[in-house]
């Protein structure tokens, strides 16, 4: 059985007609190629160079604090014996969560045959890869001695065959995160190959030898034959089928790091679904932040339309509300269970010394997505951009609240403590931003940010939709945004 969800609104908008000023014409296949390849082939512009410079400065500053972390050890951080997991693990969970949206868009939406994923899946998957790399960097930092990172793997060693402990969720995490990263890279790259072949053929046509060679090697000799495409589609479908449970498993296993312990506030069975919903919530917010900038800088308003933005906002509303319900459920259970440690942990979150983190989380995650009940809000670029940032601030605080407030009140009151970040903590966080944005800007400059082949595949049905619908609201927005 094959079910294709109908396109309710054109996914690729019409363009201004060159021969007929003031009129619009339908976008052609060649337009898609030209519009997406333009930024790959053009020389880097000032805006891109400036953006790269800023992210490289962040990267450089972060590299200095990272050097201090590794040279002097994690005593440079603000954590202590009571709060042994703090800023670093908060950042780790935050980045892994952000990564989840890319896989959701490319895999789960493919299985649900949601055509709107085609214009955003490429950039969202790239974001996934970079976010997971950032998350991994915090694991290496947290190890303190990253040159011993291979100890996390079940390798035969010289200390008697002392193996890793497969009962430990931290070992599960090693397998989950590395599988997730490598499978995401493969999924993303397989999707890139046909588009790289397009760029290769254009470079050969224009006589640019070096790009022709580089994109030639990268495109693996793709020729677009029907046989290759048929197998490609099967690979994409099976990879989507594998990635769907994979992405759900990754944040589930991350939540096991907490849920399998006996710390009040962590030891709850609600964690896996609650973490997965939160991950998708923050990931979609990050996709929106990046895509709103990308569509503006590269003038992609015809491909990433208000319809796409609205769909993503609906996902944010849904997952944000799930997260809100999860917060309330935790509270209810803390009281209903009658466990005094559990009740104390939750009251302490609300009214204890970290009350400001708790209330930031509640405001950003529970209240702010509720604006998206209104269609006008979902389709407002400025509101969406602002809320996408607010959501990620909220999700950062969620992890901080879970980790730090649960730990800082030990079972033994004489061990009670507080965590305050040092400049090295902050610098390491800035490092991850530098890494993330440098990688993303390099991707956006040298690779096609929109999956050309997949957009071409939905173009015909989108153009039919335009014939029926006439001028749509999204086209007015695209026209004004282009000026």
């Amino acid at each position: 059985m094959q079910v294709t969800s109908p396109v309710r609104e054109p996914l690729v908008l019409r363009k201004p007609d060159e021969n007929n000023p003031g009129k619009l014409r339908t976008t052609t296949l060649a337009d898609v190629t030209n519009d997406i390849c333009r930024q790959v082939e053009a020389a880097p512009n000032m805006r891109w160079l400036l953006a790269m410079l800023i992210s490289l400065v962040a990267f450089a500053w972060g590299s200095y604090t990272l050097y201090r972390t590794w040279w002097f050890g994690i005593g440079e951080w603000g954590l202590n014996k009571t709060i042994g997991w703090a800023w670093d693990i908060t950042n780790f969970v935050w980045w892994v969560g952000i990564g989840h949206a890319g896989t959701l868009i490319s895999a789960i939406l493919l299985l649900f045959r949601q055509k709107w994923r085609t214009s955003i899946n490429r950039a969202a998957e790239a974001m996934t890869i970079f976010a997971v790399i950032c998350a991994g960097s915090f694991i290496l930092m947290h190890m303190g001695r990253p040159w011993l990172a291979h100890w996390a793997l079940p390798l035969p060693n010289t200390y008697g065959s002392l193996w890793v402990n497969f009962n430990s969720p931290l070992v599960w995490d090693v397998f989950a995160i590395s599988t997730y990263l490598s499978v995401s890279v493969v999924f993303w790259y397989i999707g890139l190959i046909p588009d790289l072949a397009t760029i290769r053929e254009r470079a050969i046509r224009d006589g640019r030898a070096i790009p022709a060679f580089i994109y030639g090697c990268l495109s693996f000799g793709w020729d677009g034959s029907a046989k290759t495409w048929a197998r490609y589609e099967m690979v994409a479908l099976v990879l989507a089928g594998l990635s769907t449970p994979l992405v759900l498993s990754v944040h589930t296993i991350v939540s096991f790091d907490f849920a399998t312990s006996v710390i009040p506030g962590w030891h709850t069975t609600i964690f896996p679904p609650y973490f997965v919903a939160g991950a998708i919530f923050s990931g979609f917010a990050m996709v929106l932040t990046l895509m709103l900038i990308t569509r503006h800088v590269f003038k992609l308003q015809h491909y990433i339309t208000l319809a796409h933005i609205e769909s993503m906002n609906k996902v944010i509303l849904l997952t944000g509300s799930i997260v809100g319900i999860a917060y309330l459920t935790e509270f209810f259970i803390a009281w209903y269970s009658g466990v005094e440690y559990e009740s104390y942990a939750f009251l302490n979150r609300m009214f204890g010394p970290y009350w400001w983190a708790y209330w930031s989380m509640m405001t950003c995650n529970v209240i702010s997505p509720q604006f998206f009940w209104f269609r006008a809000m979902r389709r407002n670029i400025y509101v969406t951009f602002a809320l996408s940032i607010v959501v990620n601030i909220g999700m950062w605080f969620e992890r901080f609240v879970i980790i730090v407030t649960s730990l800082h009140r030990d079972f033994l009151p004489s061990s009670w403590s507080m965590f305050w970040p040092t400049y090295v903590d902050v610098g390491d966080y800035i490092f991850s931003f530098g890494l993330f944005f440098t990688a993303f800007f390099l991707f956006a400059k040298f690779l096609p940010v929109v999956n050309m082949a997949e957009v071409k595949a939905v173009l015909a049905s989108s153009n039919e939709e335009i014939q029926e619908a006439g001028l749509v609201e999204a086209e007015k927005e695209a026209a004004t945004a282009a000026h």
Binding site: A176, P194, E201, R205, D223, S225
Partner: protein, 183 residues
């Protein structure tokens, strides 16, 4: 440079996916053998119209996945149960629930990598093939290119050429394809 043998092809260029599909059906009806069609995007069921066999990649993926599961179970059982048994958290040496996450992850890892490597090799997709033979480079942009091997058809060139034009081909050309074409 070695003088390579070449094969002669008739190349029809189409503008539209639907025209292409109806053309394939008509040509099949006229007993014209089409070697391959090159498209800028995946056209659903095109391989079926052309009579290509269904790919066995999904079966390969299953086998790779099963290998991953077995590998994971073997490693975990051996290290935890046989090589260095320890009681951790009051669990048995071999505690199946603890082995579920890693077994799942390795299943996915092996299936994904095994299938993708098989896909690349079976389609001869390799980094050093940086300049593959293309009947028409526009098939990566906006054209649908049909390649007809003249040797495997009994009809004359003019006949097939006329048929292609009648089915809506924008242009028809002949092209020589090198027989041993690895680059």
């Amino acid at each position: 440079m070695l003088q390579n043998k070449t094969k002669k092809y008739l190349v029809g260029i189409y503008n539209d996916e639907n025209v292409l599909i109806s053309a394939i059906k008509k040509l099949k009806g006229e007993n014209v053998s089409i070697e391959e069609v090159y498209t800028p995007y995946p056209v659903h069921h095109l391989d079926e119209y052309l009579g290509h066999k269904r790919s066995r990649l999904s079966k390969a993926a299953f086998l790779f996945g099963a290998t991953g599961t077995l590998t994971a179970i073997t490693i975990q059982t051996y290290t935890m149960g046989l090589s260095w048994p320890m009681i951790i958290g009051g669990k048995d040496y071999i505690s199946p629930p603890s082995f579920v996450p890693v077994s799942f992850e390795l299943t996915v890892l092996f299936a994904a990598f095994g299938m993708v490597i098989t896909f690349l090799l079976s389609n001869n997709l390799l980094p050093w093939r940086y300049k593959p033979f293309m009947f028409d480079p526009r098939s990566t942009d906006d054209k649908f290119v049909m390649a007809i091997d003249m040797e495997s058809n009994s009809k004359s060139e003019d006949e097939i050429s006329q048929l292609l034009k009648n089915t809506g081909a924008e242009s028809v050309d002949t092209k020589e394809k090198p027989v041993s074409n690895d680059l």
